[in-house]
Protein backbone atom coordinates (compact mmCIF):
# COMPACT_ATOMS: atom_id res chain seq x y z
CA UNK A 1 0.00 0.00 0.00
CA UNK A 2 2.83 2.35 0.95
CA UNK A 3 4.60 1.48 -2.29
CA UNK A 4 1.54 2.26 -4.41
CA UNK A 5 1.24 5.65 -2.74
CA UNK A 6 4.91 6.30 -3.44
CA UNK A 7 4.54 5.40 -7.12
CA UNK A 8 1.36 7.46 -7.35
CA UNK A 9 3.15 10.44 -5.83
CA UNK A 10 6.05 10.01 -8.27
CA UNK A 11 3.64 9.93 -11.21
CA UNK A 12 1.84 13.07 -10.01
CA UNK A 13 5.13 14.92 -9.50
CA UNK A 14 6.44 13.87 -12.92
CA UNK A 15 3.12 14.81 -14.49
CA UNK A 16 3.22 18.25 -12.91
CA UNK A 17 6.81 18.71 -14.10
CA UNK A 18 5.93 17.80 -17.68
CA UNK A 19 2.89 20.08 -17.51
CA UNK A 20 5.12 22.94 -16.38
CA UNK A 21 7.72 22.24 -19.06
CA UNK A 22 5.05 22.14 -21.76
CA UNK A 23 3.35 25.25 -20.40
CA UNK A 24 6.67 27.08 -20.18
CA UNK A 25 7.92 26.27 -23.64
CA UNK A 26 4.52 26.61 -25.23
CA UNK A 27 5.30 30.14 -26.33
CA UNK A 28 8.92 29.32 -27.09
CA UNK A 29 8.53 26.32 -29.36
CA UNK A 30 7.91 28.15 -32.56
CA UNK A 31 9.43 26.49 -35.57
CA UNK A 32 9.38 29.64 -37.70
CA UNK A 33 8.70 33.38 -37.53
CA UNK A 34 6.08 34.87 -39.82
CA UNK A 35 6.78 37.88 -42.08
CA UNK A 36 4.48 40.06 -39.89
CA UNK A 37 6.38 39.07 -36.74
CA UNK A 38 9.72 39.66 -38.46
CA UNK A 39 8.77 43.16 -39.61
CA UNK A 40 7.31 43.97 -36.18
CA UNK A 41 10.74 43.31 -34.65
CA UNK A 42 12.19 46.23 -36.59
CA UNK A 43 15.96 46.71 -36.96
CA UNK A 44 16.67 44.32 -34.04
CA UNK A 45 15.91 41.40 -36.40
CA UNK A 46 18.74 42.33 -38.79
CA UNK A 47 21.64 39.87 -38.85
CA UNK A 48 20.03 37.34 -36.49
CA UNK A 49 19.81 33.75 -37.80
CA UNK A 50 16.21 32.55 -37.81
CA UNK A 51 13.61 30.57 -39.68
CA UNK A 52 11.07 32.54 -41.65
CA UNK A 53 7.90 30.80 -42.82
CA UNK A 54 5.05 31.83 -45.07
CA UNK A 55 3.45 31.38 -48.44
CA UNK A 56 5.57 31.69 -51.58
CA UNK A 57 3.68 34.59 -53.14
CA UNK A 58 2.24 33.74 -56.56
CA UNK A 59 4.19 35.37 -59.37
CA UNK A 60 7.17 36.27 -57.16
CA UNK A 61 9.53 33.45 -58.11
CA UNK A 62 12.60 34.41 -60.17
CA UNK A 63 15.16 31.73 -61.00
CA UNK A 64 18.46 32.52 -62.67
CA UNK A 65 19.89 29.25 -63.97
CA UNK A 66 23.17 30.97 -64.90
CA UNK A 67 24.01 32.20 -61.38
CA UNK A 68 21.80 29.73 -59.42
CA UNK A 69 20.14 32.70 -57.73
CA UNK A 70 16.57 32.15 -56.62
CA UNK A 71 14.44 35.11 -55.59
CA UNK A 72 10.91 35.01 -54.21
CA UNK A 73 8.66 36.69 -51.67
CA UNK A 74 7.26 35.06 -48.52
CA UNK A 75 3.93 36.42 -47.28
CA UNK A 76 1.40 35.70 -44.54
CA UNK A 77 -1.55 37.79 -45.70
CA UNK A 78 -0.45 40.93 -43.83
CA UNK A 79 3.22 41.37 -44.65
CA UNK A 80 5.73 40.15 -47.22
CA UNK A 81 9.50 39.69 -47.07
CA UNK A 82 11.71 39.33 -50.18
CA UNK A 83 14.02 36.30 -50.02
CA UNK A 84 17.16 35.43 -51.95
CA UNK A 85 18.70 31.96 -52.01
CA UNK A 86 21.78 30.69 -53.78
CA UNK A 87 21.14 27.19 -55.12
CA UNK A 88 18.31 25.03 -56.37
CA UNK A 89 15.18 24.77 -54.19
CA UNK A 90 13.57 21.42 -53.18
CA UNK A 91 11.62 19.64 -55.95
CA UNK A 92 8.22 20.53 -54.55
CA UNK A 93 8.96 24.23 -54.02
CA UNK A 94 6.16 26.05 -55.86
CA UNK A 95 4.38 29.37 -55.78
CA UNK A 96 1.26 29.42 -53.63
CA UNK A 97 2.68 26.72 -51.30
CA UNK A 98 4.20 27.17 -47.87
CA UNK A 99 7.95 27.39 -47.36
CA UNK A 100 10.27 27.83 -44.38
CA UNK A 101 13.67 29.41 -45.02
CA UNK A 102 16.63 29.59 -42.65
CA UNK A 103 18.94 32.57 -42.84
CA UNK A 104 19.28 36.21 -41.90
CA UNK A 105 17.57 39.48 -42.70
CA UNK A 106 19.89 42.06 -44.28
CA UNK A 107 19.89 45.82 -43.61
CA UNK A 108 18.38 46.21 -47.10
CA UNK A 109 15.28 44.29 -45.96
CA UNK A 110 16.13 41.24 -48.07
CA UNK A 111 16.24 37.89 -46.29
CA UNK A 112 19.21 35.75 -47.36
CA UNK A 113 18.26 32.07 -47.04
CA UNK A 114 20.82 29.34 -46.47
CA UNK A 115 18.23 26.58 -46.77
CA UNK A 116 14.67 26.15 -48.00
CA UNK A 117 12.13 23.69 -46.60
CA UNK A 118 8.74 23.12 -48.21
CA UNK A 119 5.72 23.12 -45.90
CA UNK A 120 2.61 21.32 -47.10
CA UNK A 121 -0.92 21.04 -45.73
CA UNK A 122 -2.69 18.02 -44.26
CA UNK A 123 -4.93 17.77 -47.32
CA UNK A 124 -4.47 14.79 -49.61
CA UNK A 125 -6.38 14.44 -52.85
CA UNK A 126 -5.80 13.03 -56.32
CA UNK A 127 -4.71 15.45 -59.07
CA UNK A 128 -7.59 16.88 -61.14
CA UNK A 129 -8.28 14.67 -64.16
CA UNK A 130 -6.97 16.19 -67.40
Amino acid sequence: MKRIRLVLAAVIVAGALIYLIVGGIRGAIVYYTTPSELLAQGPSAIGRTMRLGGQVMPGSRRWNAGTLDLRFTLGDGNATVPVIHHGAPPDLFTEGQGAVVEGTLGADGIFTARSIIVKHSEEYRPPPSP
Binding site: A14, G15, I18, V30, Y32, L92, K119, E122, E123
Partner: protein
Protein backbone atom coordinates in the same frame (compact mmCIF):
# COMPACT_ATOMS: atom_id res chain seq x y z
CA UNK B 1 -3.11 -24.49 -36.95
CA UNK B 2 -2.80 -22.53 -33.72
CA UNK B 3 -4.53 -19.21 -33.12
CA UNK B 4 -1.12 -17.55 -33.27
CA UNK B 5 -0.29 -19.01 -36.71
CA UNK B 6 -3.75 -17.97 -37.90
CA UNK B 7 -3.16 -14.40 -36.68
CA UNK B 8 0.18 -14.36 -38.53
CA UNK B 9 -1.48 -15.58 -41.73
CA UNK B 10 -4.17 -12.86 -41.45
CA UNK B 11 -1.43 -10.25 -40.89
CA UNK B 12 0.48 -11.36 -44.01
CA UNK B 13 -2.72 -11.39 -46.09
CA UNK B 14 -3.78 -7.91 -44.88
CA UNK B 15 -0.27 -6.52 -45.43
CA UNK B 16 -0.38 -7.86 -48.99
CA UNK B 17 -3.76 -6.23 -49.68
CA UNK B 18 -2.69 -2.98 -48.02
CA UNK B 19 0.55 -2.92 -50.02
CA UNK B 20 -1.34 -3.47 -53.28
CA UNK B 21 -3.92 -0.75 -52.56
CA UNK B 22 -1.27 1.67 -51.26
CA UNK B 23 1.13 1.21 -54.17
CA UNK B 24 -1.15 0.53 -57.15
CA UNK B 25 -4.88 0.99 -56.51
CA UNK B 26 -4.72 4.44 -54.85
CA UNK B 27 -4.08 7.67 -56.77
CA UNK B 28 -1.02 9.92 -56.50
CA UNK B 29 -1.44 13.20 -54.60
CA UNK B 30 -2.13 16.50 -56.38
CA UNK B 31 0.84 18.17 -54.67
CA UNK B 32 3.23 15.39 -53.65
CA UNK B 33 2.68 12.98 -56.53
CA UNK B 34 3.84 9.43 -55.81
CA UNK B 35 5.66 10.44 -52.60
CA UNK B 36 2.32 10.42 -50.76
CA UNK B 37 2.50 6.60 -50.73
CA UNK B 38 5.16 6.78 -48.02
CA UNK B 39 2.33 7.97 -45.75
CA UNK B 40 0.75 4.49 -45.90
CA UNK B 41 3.83 3.11 -44.14
CA UNK B 42 4.62 6.16 -41.98
CA UNK B 43 1.26 6.74 -40.27
CA UNK B 44 0.67 3.04 -39.34
CA UNK B 45 4.15 2.83 -37.76
CA UNK B 46 3.40 5.88 -35.62
CA UNK B 47 -0.07 4.57 -34.71
CA UNK B 48 1.29 1.14 -33.69
CA UNK B 49 3.96 2.88 -31.58
CA UNK B 50 1.22 4.83 -29.73
CA UNK B 51 -0.77 1.60 -29.28
CA UNK B 52 2.27 -0.30 -28.00
CA UNK B 53 3.08 2.34 -25.39
CA UNK B 54 -0.58 2.53 -24.31
CA UNK B 55 -0.31 -1.21 -23.59
CA UNK B 56 3.03 -0.64 -21.82
CA UNK B 57 1.33 2.03 -19.71
CA UNK B 58 -1.64 -0.16 -18.72
CA UNK B 59 0.51 -3.25 -18.11
CA UNK B 60 3.00 -1.22 -16.04
CA UNK B 61 0.22 0.17 -13.83
CA UNK B 62 -1.17 -3.36 -13.35
CA UNK B 63 2.30 -4.75 -12.63
CA UNK B 64 3.08 -2.18 -9.93
CA UNK B 65 -0.34 -2.78 -8.43
CA UNK B 66 -0.68 -6.60 -8.62
CA UNK B 67 3.01 -7.62 -8.97
CA UNK B 68 2.11 -10.47 -11.32
CA UNK B 69 5.01 -11.36 -13.67
CA UNK B 70 2.58 -11.75 -16.60
CA UNK B 71 1.95 -7.98 -16.59
CA UNK B 72 5.68 -7.33 -16.63
CA UNK B 73 6.16 -9.69 -19.59
CA UNK B 74 3.45 -7.80 -21.46
CA UNK B 75 4.92 -4.38 -20.55
CA UNK B 76 8.43 -5.48 -21.57
CA UNK B 77 7.23 -6.92 -24.90
CA UNK B 78 5.08 -3.89 -25.74
CA UNK B 79 8.00 -1.56 -24.91
CA UNK B 80 10.36 -3.41 -27.26
CA UNK B 81 7.81 -3.31 -30.08
CA UNK B 82 6.98 0.32 -29.36
CA UNK B 83 10.65 1.29 -29.64
CA UNK B 84 10.89 -0.67 -32.91
CA UNK B 85 7.83 1.01 -34.43
CA UNK B 86 8.82 4.48 -33.15
CA UNK B 87 12.16 3.93 -34.89
CA UNK B 88 10.36 2.92 -38.07
CA UNK B 89 8.07 5.97 -37.82
CA UNK B 90 11.14 8.23 -37.50
CA UNK B 91 12.86 6.42 -40.40
CA UNK B 92 9.86 6.51 -42.77
CA UNK B 93 9.22 10.12 -41.75
CA UNK B 94 12.79 10.98 -42.65
CA UNK B 95 12.52 9.19 -46.01
CA UNK B 96 9.24 11.05 -46.69
CA UNK B 97 10.63 14.38 -45.50
CA UNK B 98 13.65 14.35 -47.83
CA UNK B 99 11.74 14.58 -51.14
CA UNK B 100 8.69 16.49 -49.89
CA UNK B 101 10.07 18.96 -47.33
CA UNK B 102 13.59 18.93 -48.69
CA UNK B 103 15.25 17.74 -45.48
CA UNK B 104 15.93 14.43 -43.71
CA UNK B 105 15.52 15.99 -40.27
CA UNK B 106 14.66 19.33 -38.71
CA UNK B 107 14.09 20.53 -35.13
CA UNK B 108 10.34 20.67 -35.36
CA UNK B 109 8.25 20.03 -32.20
CA UNK B 110 6.60 16.89 -33.64
CA UNK B 111 9.93 15.42 -34.68
CA UNK B 112 11.72 16.29 -31.44
CA UNK B 113 8.97 14.93 -29.16
CA UNK B 114 8.91 11.70 -31.20
CA UNK B 115 12.67 11.33 -30.86
CA UNK B 116 12.16 11.90 -27.11
CA UNK B 117 9.64 9.04 -27.06
CA UNK B 118 12.22 6.75 -28.68
CA UNK B 119 14.81 7.75 -26.06
CA UNK B 120 12.42 7.43 -23.07
CA UNK B 121 11.47 3.85 -23.89
CA UNK B 122 15.01 2.91 -24.93
CA UNK B 123 15.95 4.09 -21.42
CA UNK B 124 13.23 1.83 -19.97
CA UNK B 125 14.79 -1.15 -21.79
CA UNK B 126 18.30 -0.12 -20.67
CA UNK B 127 17.28 0.28 -17.03
CA UNK B 128 15.67 -3.14 -17.10
CA UNK B 129 18.74 -4.72 -18.66
CA UNK B 130 21.30 -2.96 -16.46
CA UNK B 131 19.67 -3.74 -13.14
CA UNK B 132 21.32 -6.55 -11.13
CA UNK B 133 18.01 -7.50 -9.59
CA UNK B 134 15.43 -8.40 -12.29
CA UNK B 135 12.52 -7.44 -10.03
CA UNK B 136 14.02 -4.03 -9.38
CA UNK B 137 14.65 -3.63 -13.13
CA UNK B 138 11.03 -4.51 -13.84
CA UNK B 139 9.77 -1.97 -11.26
CA UNK B 140 11.95 0.84 -12.61
CA UNK B 141 10.95 0.02 -16.21
CA UNK B 142 7.30 0.13 -15.12
CA UNK B 143 7.72 3.60 -13.61
CA UNK B 144 9.38 4.88 -16.82
CA UNK B 145 6.69 3.08 -18.83
CA UNK B 146 3.97 5.00 -16.97
CA UNK B 147 5.60 8.45 -16.84
CA UNK B 148 6.96 8.19 -20.39
CA UNK B 149 3.47 7.73 -21.78
CA UNK B 150 2.79 11.42 -21.05
CA UNK B 151 4.88 12.13 -24.14
CA UNK B 152 2.31 10.45 -26.41
CA UNK B 153 -0.42 13.13 -26.03
CA UNK B 154 2.31 15.79 -26.25
CA UNK B 155 3.43 14.33 -29.60
CA UNK B 156 -0.14 14.04 -30.82
CA UNK B 157 -1.04 17.64 -29.97
CA UNK B 158 2.40 19.10 -30.79
CA UNK B 159 1.15 20.08 -34.24
CA UNK B 160 -1.80 21.92 -32.65
CA UNK B 161 -0.07 23.51 -29.64
CA UNK B 162 3.12 24.56 -31.38
CA UNK B 163 3.88 26.18 -34.71
CA UNK B 164 5.44 23.27 -36.57
CA UNK B 165 6.61 22.22 -40.00
CA UNK B 166 4.77 18.93 -39.64
CA UNK B 167 1.19 19.19 -40.88
CA UNK B 168 -1.71 18.58 -38.44
CA UNK B 169 -3.81 15.39 -38.50
CA UNK B 170 -5.75 14.75 -41.72
CA UNK B 171 -8.31 12.65 -39.90
CA UNK B 172 -9.91 14.39 -36.92
CA UNK B 173 -13.44 14.46 -35.50
CA UNK B 174 -15.56 16.55 -37.86
CA UNK B 175 -12.73 17.16 -40.32
CA UNK B 176 -11.61 14.75 -43.01
CA UNK B 177 -8.97 16.18 -45.30
CA UNK B 178 -8.09 13.09 -47.27
CA UNK B 179 -9.80 11.86 -50.44
CA UNK B 180 -11.78 8.56 -50.10
CA UNK B 181 -9.46 6.30 -52.21
CA UNK B 182 -6.45 7.50 -50.19
CA UNK B 183 -8.36 7.11 -46.93
CA UNK B 184 -9.11 3.49 -47.90
CA UNK B 185 -5.40 2.78 -48.48
CA UNK B 186 -4.53 4.39 -45.14
CA UNK B 187 -7.24 2.50 -43.23
CA UNK B 188 -6.20 -0.84 -44.76
CA UNK B 189 -2.57 -0.15 -43.85
CA UNK B 190 -3.56 0.81 -40.30
CA UNK B 191 -5.53 -2.43 -39.94
CA UNK B 192 -2.73 -4.57 -41.41
CA UNK B 193 -0.07 -3.03 -39.15
CA UNK B 194 -2.34 -3.39 -36.10
CA UNK B 195 -2.86 -7.12 -36.75
CA UNK B 196 0.88 -7.54 -37.40
CA UNK B 197 1.55 -5.81 -34.09
CA UNK B 198 -0.88 -8.10 -32.25
CA UNK B 199 0.86 -11.11 -33.76
CA UNK B 200 4.33 -9.85 -32.74
CA UNK B 201 3.15 -8.85 -29.26
CA UNK B 202 1.68 -12.29 -28.56
CA UNK B 203 4.84 -13.95 -29.85
CA UNK B 204 7.15 -11.72 -27.81
CA UNK B 205 5.05 -12.03 -24.65
CA UNK B 206 5.06 -15.83 -24.78
CA UNK B 207 8.82 -15.73 -25.33
CA UNK B 208 9.19 -13.49 -22.26
CA UNK B 209 7.13 -15.97 -20.24
CA UNK B 210 9.29 -18.90 -21.39
CA UNK B 211 12.49 -16.97 -20.64
CA UNK B 212 11.20 -16.40 -17.11
CA UNK B 213 10.75 -20.17 -16.74
CA UNK B 214 7.03 -20.23 -17.43
CA UNK B 215 5.05 -22.89 -19.28
CA UNK B 216 4.35 -22.99 -23.01
CA UNK B 217 0.74 -22.05 -23.66
Amino acid sequence: MTAQTGLGAVAVLLLGIAAYVSLFASPPDAFQGEYVRIMYAHVPNAWVAYLAFAITFAASVLYLWKRRPAYDHLAHSATELGVLFTGLALLTGSIWGRPVWGTWWTWDARLVTTAMLFLIYTTALLVRGLSDDPLRGARLAAVIGIVGFLDVPIIHYSVVWFRTLHQPASIAPGSLKIAPPMLLALMLSLLAFTVLFMYLLRLRTSLARLEAGGEMR
